[in-house]
Symmetry: C2
Subunit: 763 residues, 2 copies
């Protein structure tokens, strides 16, 4: 048996090898986003696919297509031509001084009302000087433009359209605007609230995401369910120090100050306003002094009488779910509290059950993993502090609370509800922490019905009624499958099976998944190993660890190439063994896996990465003296740290946009994990890479974006100074005018640059 198997294996190898020789070698232009051939080589997708109620549609270039949920049959709902005809027609509910230009694509269009045959889209009029934007509504039953309104501000952004009151909230500069349409008249957008007389840009900002987008905050406007109110953030950052970014593209370089509150320094102050659309009046929530507090996850009660805010102290170890009266702004009470010796991190707003307005879902990690809890607003409790399961978490419930999910896995998303079956449609890691599966969770009995394939990553959108999902599925084995699946777990209809042009046409490396033990000797860590293209087991290859290592991120998933990036594949082709390990501190493994790094970022993560390096060194085909490391952002911090802490292992490193000293990082993210420089001086000193500058032995290049607003240039510049003072020799490069990451063509250049560095010094 054995011999036969070996012969077959040998035959397969020869066959593979032969075919491999016929296949092409990819370039960075093929595999790096921004590369000239990149988009041609990724598996086909169906951008614009979305739900219009329970109707599956796709806003495409030339039309809006419709897909039959029963058989997937495609038909055309609206054409670009008819929209443009309507735009040209005189049969319009308005008079304009300048014509709206014909659209070139319907890709950005939407169908906001499931009961109305209306397409909403944005149109442009005028030239560079007179440029205006219009929100337009095309009725594809009447085949005419039925409504529109003008957005005068050229820098308008953060559009938030309320279907209930047909009003558009948006921001321009530091201001917040709302615009709506009265039959045939254009409604002029008006500034909602003055910035308080402050002339300094960014001193007071309205309607934008606050707290530097931490705590799940992605936006700054929150329409009430019926459109009566618009809740919004107001952020006063006049007391925050500017980071002096420099723009070198002007005739003479100019300073572009950026409000950046650094760890331990004075932070901004956030308040929440509630604008009444009919009265035009604004009430602010009476939350008290906003100094050193976070106002997160704003949620509306279905009856619009209450607003809920999850409030957090600056130390980020005490969260309170607070209810406010939406009309008066008065505080109505605290519904839930949670404390942790390390940190509590609320990231999700409340979700009320659509069939029962008295109950909402609350997210908590109090039992070690993100799980859902059902709270009953009709059943008040006195409140009693309890201990989370196997965590340092303490919580106090003032409403009767029922766990909806439990276990050593975590809920990642609530897609919505199947109202008929009283099910919550969720995405979770129940099957594997490397993937998201979609389940219908029965609220009554907690039973979960799997929707779609078991092994791989599902990205889903739920239909209006909750009866279907659009399932965008991918795994290491499946380039892409897009289906419409019923949420009862039954078989659905396939819209797309994509092949992988890269796999088909190019000579690919072998990519494997596995686990090693963490430095604690017990925790399993996932790794992804890529062998060189045309692998020869008798050779000794240099190896590079691609590392991130920080919280909120995971580098390995059961997706195409196990989530390997194009550069990793490229380097495998250049003759490197590529390894990535998701060390402790990273995402989707629960709170204890994550928070073991608290107050000493880098230490545990590095120990785990060293386990990865040892694993590499144990491989017979790896040259143990040629281990390199590369990472960006937190991965840049890790790369630099590894080069300085384990110089006997890591010989060449390229660190992009690194954190060097956490005192230069911002308050919200930084203090969660590190507290402040004042309360954790040892931790800040221990993780300050300037302190280790003298340890540099190998070749380390630091690369930054010239105006990186996230890891500000001060990190890397001060590190160079420390190395110079210590007599060590890092290398350095800047991508001028780029931010925290290089995009487009710069990204290709960047990876040429990084590759060249390893070729120069590791190969």
């Amino acid at each position: 048996m054995k011999r036969i198997f070996s012969l077959i294996a040998l035959f397969c190898m020869i066959a593979t090898s032969l075919s491999a020789q016929e296949k092409k070698a990819y370039t960075l232009e093929d595999v790096i986003p921004g590369g000239s051939n990149y988009f041609n080589l990724i598996p086909k997708n169906m951008p614009g696919l979305q739900w219009w109620g329970d109707v599956c549609v796709r806003t495409d270039v030339d039309d809006i297509k419709l897909y039959d949920v029963k058989n997937g049959k495609e038909s055309v709902l609206v054409t670009l031509e008819e929209v443009n005809n309507a735009l040209k027609s005189d049969n319009k509910p308005y008079k304009l001084t300048q014509e709206v230009k014909p659209l070139h694509t319907l890709q950005g269009a939407s169908l906001p009302w499931e009961e109305r045959k209306v397409v909403m889209f944005f149109g442009k009029a005028g030239d560079d000087k007179t440029s205006e934007t219009y929100a337009l509504f095309y009725d594809f039953d009447k085949k005419q433009i039925t409504e529109m309104f003008r957005i005068q501000e050229k820098d308008a952004t953060n559009f938030d359209f309320c279907e209930a009151n047909k009003t558009l909230a948006y921001t321009a500069g530091d201001h917040l605007y709302i615009a709506n349409a009265e039959t045939k008249d254009l409604t002029k957008a008006v500034s909602l609230i003055p910035t308080g007389g402050k002339e300094e840009p960014n001193a007071v900002v309205y309607g934008q995401a606050v707290h530097r987008n931490e705590f799940g905050i992605m936006k700054g406007t929150f329409w009430s369910p019926k459109g009566t109110y618009l809740a919004f953030y107001r952020m006063d950052q006049s007391m925050v120090t500017d980071y002096p970014q420099v723009n070198t593209t002007t005739r003479i370089a100019t300073m572009e100050p950026d409000k950046y509150p650094m760890a331990g320094m004075t932070s901004h102050k956030v308040t929440v306003g509630v604008y009444n659309v009919s009265t035009g009046k604004t009430t602010y929530l009476q939350a008290g002094d906003p100094t050193d507090r976070y106002f997160t996850n704003i949620s509306w009660d279905p009856d619009e009488k209450s607003i809920y805010v999850i409030e957090l102290n600056r130390d980020q170890n005490h969260a309170q779910l607070v209810q406010y009266d939406a009309v008066t702004g008065e505080k109505m009470g605290v519904l839930y509290e949670e404390k942790h010796s390390k940190y509590v991190e609320p990231q999700h707003p409340l979700t009320f059950l659509p069939w029962d307005d008295t109950k909402f879902i609350y997210w908590s990690q109090r039992d070690g993993f993100h799980h859902l809890y059902l709270m009953d607003t009709t059943k008040k409790l006195k409140g009693e502090w309890k201990q989370g399961k196997d965590t340092d978490d303490q919580y106090c419930e003032y409403l009767k609370t029922t766990p909806l999910t439990q276990g050593d896995w975590l809920v990642q998303q609530i897609l919505g509800f199947n109202k008929a079956r009283k099910e919550i449609i969720i995405g979770s890691t129940e099957i594997s922490p490397l993937q998201t599966n979609i389940f219908a969770l029965n609220v009554k009995n907690g039973k979960r019905t799997l929707i779609g394939k078991k092994d791989g990553m599902h990205r889903a959108m739920l239909s209006g009624s909750g009866k279907y999902i659009i399932d965008n599925f991918t795994s290491n084995d499946v380039p892409r499958e897009i289906s419409i699946l019923p949420t009862d777990g039954k078989k659905g209809v396939l819209l797309l099976t994509a092949n992988d042009p890269l796999k088909d046409e190019y000579n690919m490396p072998e990519i494997t998944l596995g686990t090693i033990k963490a430095a604690d000797g017990k925790t399993d860590l996932y790794y992804r190993l890529i062998k060189p293209v045309n692998f020869d087991p008798n050779k000794k290859y240099p190896a590079i660890i691609y590392v991130y290592g920080g919280p909120h991120a995971q580098m390995i998933h059961n997706t195409r190439f196990y989530d390997a990036r194009g550069w990793d594949l490229y380097m495998a082709q250049q003759g490197y063994v590529m390894l990535t390990v998701d060390s402790r501190g990273s995402d989707n493994r629960g709170i204890k896996f994550e928070n073991c790094t608290f107050r000493h970022l880098g230490d545990e993560e590095m120990k785990d990465q060293v386990e990865g390096a040892k694993f590499l060194q144990s491989l017979p085909y790896v040259d143990a003296d040629k281990i390199g490391v590369h990472g960006w952002s937190y991965g840049g911090f890790m790369t630099t740290n590894l080069m300085l802490t384990y110089p006997e292992i890591f010989k060449v490193g390229v660190a992009g946009g690194p954190v060097i000293d956490w005192q230069f990082y911002e308050v919200m993210y930084g203090e969660r994990y590190m507290d402040t420089p004042e309360t954790n001086p040892e931790g800040y000193k221990g993780s300050n890479l300037r302190e280790k500058a003298g340890n540099l032995k190998g070749r380390l290049e630091i690369i930054i974006g010239g105006t990186d607003p996230v890891c500000v240039p001060q990190h890397s510049i001060s590190f160079l100074r420390a190395c110079i003072d210590a007599g060590t020799h890092p290398d350095f490069f800047i991508y001028p005018e780029d931010g925290h990451n290089m995009m487009g063509r710069d990204r290709v250049h960047l990876h040429e640059h990084i590759t060249r560095y390893f070729t120069d010094f590791l190969k």
Copy 2:
């Protein structure tokens, strides 16, 4: 004969070779300024040597020594101990709240009056908070402190002491102060003139050098000969754009704006004030609108009635010597004018003959070289435009003028006069453009008497009467000789003959001087060639050109190692052939040699450097494929330009603090050679290295000081952007917080870094 000679040569070679093997190899610590052993290896000097009338003294650490001008015998004039005893004594003409601390050295002391036995020095009192500076006068006849005055401002600088009225002018911040002592009272320094209500730092600056130190301007205060007036510069730069320099050493980086007028942009406005010490009133010279004008080389008439200013238009092609009434500020007339199709560059103030107040010396290049002209204020002329000899220069004399020197060589300095013999003591290139010789120039007959050795560089100081010079002499053959020489050309007395510890103890390379033809096919250019240490004629060595190439500088002199820098010697030891060529455009060869680069900087200079490269490639021991280039500032511009323009010749370059685009360089220097971006668009485009970014083929590293105030970071940063956009790959490094040059330990680090780059890519 021939055979015998060869044998001797062979024997010498063996002997040299043997001794070379016994000698040490130097490190960068030995040969780079800032290196730990650098000062131990340079030939001894006698810092502090100076004239006290006709008495030669030396302010040393522990004493002030006296050297007999006849026999060089050393004796002690004043000891540190007695000065400190006097400081401690109660026998002082004042009462102080805090004691002046004991001095540690007399090195900074001076003897301001040749007729008085008084030492002037600065003393410190108080601690960090209460720190005060005092100007003190120690009478070494009476052995007591006789006078002193306090300088309250902590940032006091630009001290300018007037011996005639015993008053000290100085600046602090943007202000100008004067301080003097009344018998026993301290005189409080008072702010002279308010800054005009402007709160912005550097908006209006008093008493400092203006016009960015071009036109020979080194200071901003000018005492009248008898101390009745203080003339000073006032510079209004409120209309000048700030360059945003960033300081990354603060808690959060801070902007440090620096007024920087870029070519073609709005420049500062300078006026000249005259402060009357006895009345306390200030009169401004009535020069008219100062917009786009340069006020240079302020000179006083011996009778204090007139002030002379050489005024230049912004285009820098028309200079006027203007006389003003010192009391009223009224313009009295134009005494001399000069125009040139390229530029006129006045760099020297007037010098009146000490024995005839009616005559002064004026410097001009109108006949092709810097020469001296004697103007007679009693003999007025109508003024007639004439043509300079063999130049584009046109000049107009309103006073009778007599050339004092003529010829294809240039005067470099006026040391002063021998009044008795009516001679001007000058330094000139008459013997060789590679050196300065001192001559006594007879005013009457123009005869020049050579003082000191013929071949080599003389740096001299003239005694009070003009009878002696202190001659600090060095050449490639003579490490250093310091002598007191009579100015009549006779033999003097030797104070010091220094050996060269580097030559004595270390294994040195062979350094030779020679000439090649410039690219014009006719002009001789000097080169300095350094062969590798332990040279083997059968080997093929990589070679590096060290280049500067800009005006006002010359890299080769007949001094120690023909002026080779420590790094050049070091690289020769590392196995490189090192070449430097003073190409057309450089100093000390006359105006036509210099101004052939006008409006297209870089082009001619590069052609000449290419001749240097071809010369290298013609040498049998040079690897023609391994030619590198390195230079700083203008040399950084040349290096980058050569790498981009002649990529087939230059394979590796390191460019420090380079000009990339002359539109980012300052008005005064930049427009002299390039006019403005508006009037010379082709020239600016042709020399803009961003335009050539796509040509980069070899390895080019750009290195800058993080806050370089001369070649601002915008040059290099914008070049990186251009390369990224063009898809080419330069390397880059920053020395944070450093300026245009790296000093001290940073300079050692820098040269380790540069060396590493050539080792990585050229060797």
